[in-house]
Symmetry: D3
Subunit: 300 residues, 6 copies
């Protein structure tokens, strides 16, 4: 079960309210790379995990992420605190308030949430569980966690770059650092599984594991360790890139007699006659005279 | 620019229509780990990428994923082909059709999409760009790509496990294998960047990089390379886990005089009196007599 | 900050795996009236709350809801545990697996989440922060909380009605009871604010506060305390229901000269000629002969 | 303003409750082609419309669609009526109820909505305003309306095909017929604007209006009035399909000196070395021995 | 299968970075009328299409739309290129960056996507497959395509109107023109099906095909070819507009005895007593004294 | 059925166009607390309601909310009217237009909707039926309605605070007042049901109805009528807060022999070795030399 201690994991001092900065920080509160996504990613993995070590680690880290959600939420709340009372008590003139709210997310924060802190991103898009990529296989989920920590680290880095307030910079640096520590833990847990590649149980088909299809061609074609060296066989012939199994590249199915008959009736009813040049709605719509020209749509 | 060749990248033969199996395969068409998500993840990275080698690789692989989207979509289309004509031409009795459609996704496929193939997952949830986690930093995006390929590989593995049709199993194995190959390419591209950890430019704060907070405690507490060894310092004292900066764990802000006054007015207007025991709507609603007992809600 | 104790708030014993029941219980995990919605509703209110008593209460209850999320998630995980290993290790024949997965949500759980527990509802719709209705005014938010607890209580009641497993029934009854207790707390907190109606600061306009518009008319028109008695004035005359301010019921705006000119140009360009009977695409499409009849669309 | 009359626009008699059929009918209640989408599409157009004739028509038809929403909602409500009381009053055994609810949408209807009628589609996906394609230009919006009526007609046709109940069939036929009538009205309104093609004000560039790019090539290449005849010029040479303006097909921008320097720093920091074959995480993960073979991923 | 050529379909030269303009152009990248929606609309139709001519056309045009997605994505990428390096390398002061990001979408592009190009619209809403209206019947889908091209043409026209940069204007004009050409192709394909109206197979009921219900009444009532002329019969009598089948306009169902009993138990338990004037939570909340007045809510 | 009268329920005069204000008002058009949400909440309840008095009330009020939707939509339309023609006819220079559209929602309104009125909120997020919380039990739904009216009242109050235009202020005050009146009606209907608490039929478990868990502890712990007084028993001992049933707080399930074997195979395959310190991808990525230090990630 969860318990709460009124002390934050990290002390926060905000120099002064700043609704514009609050909006940027929403990315780490209700955004796709934010702390709720992290907490829920690891929590859903912890529930299903049967390995005792990883289960413990996932509860440790998911609960720490909840504490980070509380830190970032506290900062945003304080950045919005200046307008909260003034709007609620009607102590500010309309012109000034509209200026303060001249940004679609901060205006929504003010009008809809009363200067509270909502689980939306910096564009005002509500958080969705579609952000969570847990799939229930440790050799894949740990890679997802590594990547998620890398992304979260980057968003904190960018937020630090756009923040002047020293107290906020300090707290963001702590939060960014913890993402690095978490990435290290998830890396250790992944490589403590041997083997862990390819993920899961089924091996690949050796015929296709080392092929690299050079599908994008033209000036700028390049090579690197991802497609050159002993491990790779590059397929750059256009013809050899399709129907690589040696078949004809078609898709076919066996249908029953009734199904065929029904499909033929459908095809007959909806056939587009390939011959002729039927008069169309666009021809009608192009207006008198236009139909006779080649180019009714192009004339001013 | 993109071109299309009418031959598929892999030949597909479907033994017979099977709308139930079609629904499962939708995961890799319009699901979060499916081929559209893969194609769009790498395409959006390709657009922004300035490194010539990676840009080429990202176009190669994203275009191959489009070709995989076409393969999986072709299979689903054929699995649904049996009912398409019969429903459209009204050649099947209602009872039979309702049986065929007794599953929320297959029924939606039939009624809404006319037995076509929609960009939804196996529960019928429409594909959303919220599935894409590109953030514009190669050391993070390549890790996201590695994880995404691992997840996609797993979903193909599960689909192979629930499929009997040998033609479909064969095509799914090809598709699964290509995810392994792509993961290898992305790994090579990541480790061709040195250093690549921590991702991005800013270093972490050394004071917090190696701490492991043992936040989940009780029977089952465990350790492993993610929290033991020379690299780690475990913090398991509850008090030491909060306010780790040495402050008081509070969150504070400086407000202007006007802002303070407005907040005080708001607080006064909305104060909940901590004393007394006000009559409430629930007390009213619990009915006559209930108010006098300790436990109005619990009595049958 | 948050801490975690490996003991659940309530002991759970599940008799045997049952993926179908697991799906129903998802409503209280990732559904709109579920525990994550409750935890996040009260947590976002706690962050913004300045009243010390309510802030403490909101942290107490939101953290308890997280513990409930853990309980319900643990039950669902166990109900899915039977298929988890069998699917992952390929130890079950395809036919059996497809039977097990013959329901859009349970099939998604199996294929996409590997029999894990995802933040979706019983139809597979991902949880969204759009479910949270916090708006930052206590006299409204406490009413939202009261209503949310009432809804959550009802969903638990229905789940108890469809569950046979005594261990699960027992845990669901505990969870249902706590919603009742929480509703009582929120009621006390609301009525400890005086006055709390109307919510907020601005009074209504006395001219319209007690009017009841009988807008739905015909057989079945009824009355009750919501529209009869000294407090209410019923307006049932159709004419008196519109333009109740005594104006003409129009909507008007002052435009600048340039704006008017631009709108007139737009209007002229897009005017539909009210005279005549133009030949249309539908007329063309109805086929030869059809255009001459009154009723081209109705003939078989 | 809107008024309501307790008589439906069409009398409905449902033979007996049938939750499975109810789910199918949800497509026209809360689905993308359903009546709420229709009502809101035309209502949002009516608000912005300045042409008096079209404004009146749009209010007429949008209000009729609301009445259709009421009809379809009434049918669904009655189809669910059988389980409503039994579930609410706990008068049915769990096994029976789980059978009744063995379909993700009907189970959600029962558990979450109490056998009420929710604004979701037949897969349980909530209605979204993203379904509405109004864009504020009559020559486009009327075409959207024509298409929307055609789609809605088709969904009704399919529902009629899967329904046995004569009273429901009768009501669905009425509703389907009205979509035909509405399509006719929108066609008349479109062709009463002359010219109406191309939509909007700007003409196309004559150099590109009549080109048809044969981008998909191979067996099955076909022609028809959409790409043959005097009006069309087919471009099938692969080289001539790209950079059709005669340029080099590149994308370029002028950057300031500072911007260039910053990008170069970024490029240097994140460069993937195209030479060499770095050891990767996948190499590590493939396990001992695997690294030496060409094909670590493919071996069982 | 798909192939990629590094030359764009149209050469693009962007004068200088401009993140604000980039945001507007996002409409055609990740917006509802944008190129991904177009590509996916025609691609999903191509998969299911059995008519050889239309299948070829749909692959031709859907692949061209992918190439347009690449063009518009390339423009947006270049418009954002100025800030990309500066933000990533921390080379810009916070104040300047916050100014650059003072718009909810451009700020999300910068912070979340690292100045990359995301599949969102100009408000930052992620692209969703709910935008796609393919339903698997050519006589409806081709009308949807015609309408979609008309809408896309309009959005390009508006973007051209707000763009100064000649290179971008030029590319947008090319893209706009192609939408006109595509509309023409879809029109030809539709009218090559005879008959194509009403769409689908079932005819309408002649009793209701030509009725026009004048449901919106009052000043401004108008007529035009959509409701006048030989084809139409206008019903403007309010009474004749409801229960048009001649019934009583009710909705009824046959319930079993058990179902009736359960519903009666439910009704009895939840009956609102129509008599009396119960004390309510609002009465309590209006505060002392308020209860005695007629109008507690209206007094300041 | 529904009818429409061209007179609004309230006369509106807008002083002059103002797209910025229009965006704020969108909250009550397409936002979560807006008029469409209200209309659809009560309409879906009306459909399912069997109590004649409440059914009538719900139709009365839901139809009035549609009329309010029309009022607020008319105001927004007029506020956007100034730019509509100018943008459509290309009569405004690009610089000016970009200024007018310098806000993510207003720019979307202009470019995507042609200065029309879309069902989105003030951040541009499309309306979703996920906002509707109807669950089909009157004692819960009426509480939801009371809360919804309270929230809607607050949003109108805030909009009045940021509006200067007297005609709009006047209309908003009417709309706000009606929310108060509706709340009063719903309160009367709720308390006309006796008892109405706890909602639904099942009583709570007396053992847990009056417990208050003091889960958030530390400086700031507080009490009030929500946790003190004769009715409450506070549990503040940390140990007593978990496993409150007296069990061991674990979650357990009985598995079949086959299921156990499969899970063990899964566990063995994916076990993370708790011993040792494996080399990881992060170790590789930290670069040469870094592996030997304790703190590779923390070095500047």
């Amino acid at each position: 079960m969860y318990m709460h201690n009124k002390r934050l994991q990290y002390t926060v001092h905000v120099a002064e309210p700043n609704p514009q900065l609050a909006v940027l920080l929403l990315e780490q509160f209700g955004g796709p790379q934010g702390e709720l996504a992290a907490a829920m990613r690891y929590f859903t993995q912890a529930l299903a995990e049967d390995d005792p070590g990883r289960k413990d680690m996932l509860y440790d880290i998911s609960t720490e992420e909840l504490s980070h959600l509380e830190i970032i939420g506290s900062i945003i709340t304080l950045l919005n605190k200046g307008t909260k009372g003034e709007l609620a008590e009607g102590m500010i003139e309309a012109a000034g308030m509209r200026l303060l709210t001249g940004n679609s997310t901060s205006q929504t924060e003010a009008i809809l949430y009363g200067s509270g802190t909502a689980l939306v991103n910096s564009s005002g898009v509500p958080w969705t569980a579609a952000y969570i990529d847990t799939i229930g296989e440790p050799t894949a989920d740990l890679r997802s966690n590594i990547a998620a920590e890398a992304r979260a680290k980057m968003v904190y880095e960018r937020l630090i770059n756009v923040t002047d307030d020293p107290g906020i910079k300090d707290a963001l640096t702590f939060l960014m650092t913890r993402e690095i520590a978490h990435q290290k833990s998830f890396e250790k847990a992944l490589y403590a599984i041997t083997p862990n590649f390819p993920p899961g149980k089924l091996p690949g088909d050796p015929a296709y594991t080392d092929l690299y299809f050079d599908i994008s061609q033209g000036a700028g074609n390049a090579s690197g360790p991802w497609n050159q060296g002993a491990q790779w066989e590059v397929v750059d012939d256009r013809d050899a890139q399709s129907a690589v199994d040696g078949g004809d590249g078609s898709a076919s199915v066996e249908l029953s007699k009734t199904q065929k008959a029904a499909l033929q009736a459908f095809a007959a009813r909806t056939a587009s006659n390939p011959e002729g040049d039927p008069l169309t709605g666009a021809d009608l719509g192009a207006g008198p005279g236009a139909g006779a020209t080649k180019n009714p749509a192009a004339e001013p």
